[in-house]
Amino acid sequence: MKTNYDIVVVGAGPAGSMAARFAAEQGVSVLMLEKDRDVGYPVRCGEAISKAGVEEFIPSDDKWIAAKISKFSFNAPDGSEAIIDFGDAGYVLERRSFDYELARTAAEAGAEILTRAYVNGLLFDDGKVSGVKYEINGEQKEVKAKIVIAADGVESRVGRWAGLETHVDFRDMESAVQITAANIPVDQSTLYFYFGQDVAPNGYFWVFPKGHNKANIGLGVSGLIGKKKSAQSYLDDFMNKHYPNAPVLTKIAGGVPCSITLDKISGPGIMLVGDAARQVNPLSGGGIASGMIGGKIAGTIAGEAIKQNKLDHILTYDKAWNDRLGKRHETFNRIKEGIYNFSDDKFNSIAHSILKIPIEKRTLGKVFTTALINNPSLLVDIAKVFVV
């Protein structure tokens, strides 16, 4: 292994892998460091993703598809369930294999990957980030880089060390817990969402099929809620009520920074991508698709900067991200704040009005219109999302 690279990427999740790949594709030297033993392990979130979101990056493959999704089920606090069919549009991922496959595409593009490398500091040269310090097998090492791309997730510290403001306000941190349970008799092509003060006070509770009657079941709560009752207690309550005897196969904790993108995601010698940059879709809490897009933009710009020997070029990344998704996330964030403040009555009445639409006519557009009749102030924001 060399001790000097054009680009070092910290973290080998979806965002890091895409940054490494799109940089390496331009023929520059890239090293990606991952603190865990294997890429894709431990799994942090059993996430659903749209088919289009994946296929921008990798062809669909049954290897990492746990379930194919074509319906949403919206469950109101009073127990009414409205099912919305949206066609053949999404997957529940087998995250471990998925992350692994993404990292493989980075390696194929020419990036080197080093696992069990725990990054614990940065190198600076004249105020500019010029590499990272890391620990591997108990030994402290250093590697120089012209550009460091931080893809170190929700617990990101690399950005902080570089002087960017990355700290997550505890109110914006959605701390999530999810179990994978067996014997859950749900439809294998439906994503189930539960709303209401008692189940998920500032978000939604999810039950996502994982094939063979297994399901991922979980929720996230913000620090404000967690102060009073933890995500774990909400999950226990839900399981006792709905599936008291289901065997639990695994349990994972995870955090989603549900806010708008950080003010600054690049600086001299440093770029942030994925959860580390808060590139999460604040409405759904989904970070894979948007993290991959952030990674692609950052990797592409970083590669160009090296090739043109114009390191300042990386500062154009903020604008490129905002134009592609950042601005849209601001709108999503406002919609989220609207929806998460809905009362139980409002959720109930939305479900009842959806149920009045015949199932074959329940398109997402119709459902949104129905939801909006209950909350017209959201109309302007939603119109912006769908019109532009």
Partner: protein, 74 residues
Amino acid sequence: MNYRQAKNGKLMIEILPDKCDFCGCCVGVCPEDAIELKEAEIFIIDERCTNCAKCVWSCPIEVIHFNKEGVLAK
């Protein structure tokens, strides 16, 4: 609530490392960069911690506790 006397003082935050899932929520919200999380290792750097308890509220699985009596820093 004001627990801000503990930089260099008594650490009142306790992590149960056996139960931790190393998800990183606490690290992300810690304003003092006082939590170190490696592959399967987590600890609080007591010289930095201010006992603000934000990590306690953000832990989804109740692995961090607040102990008014203080705990011994390991």
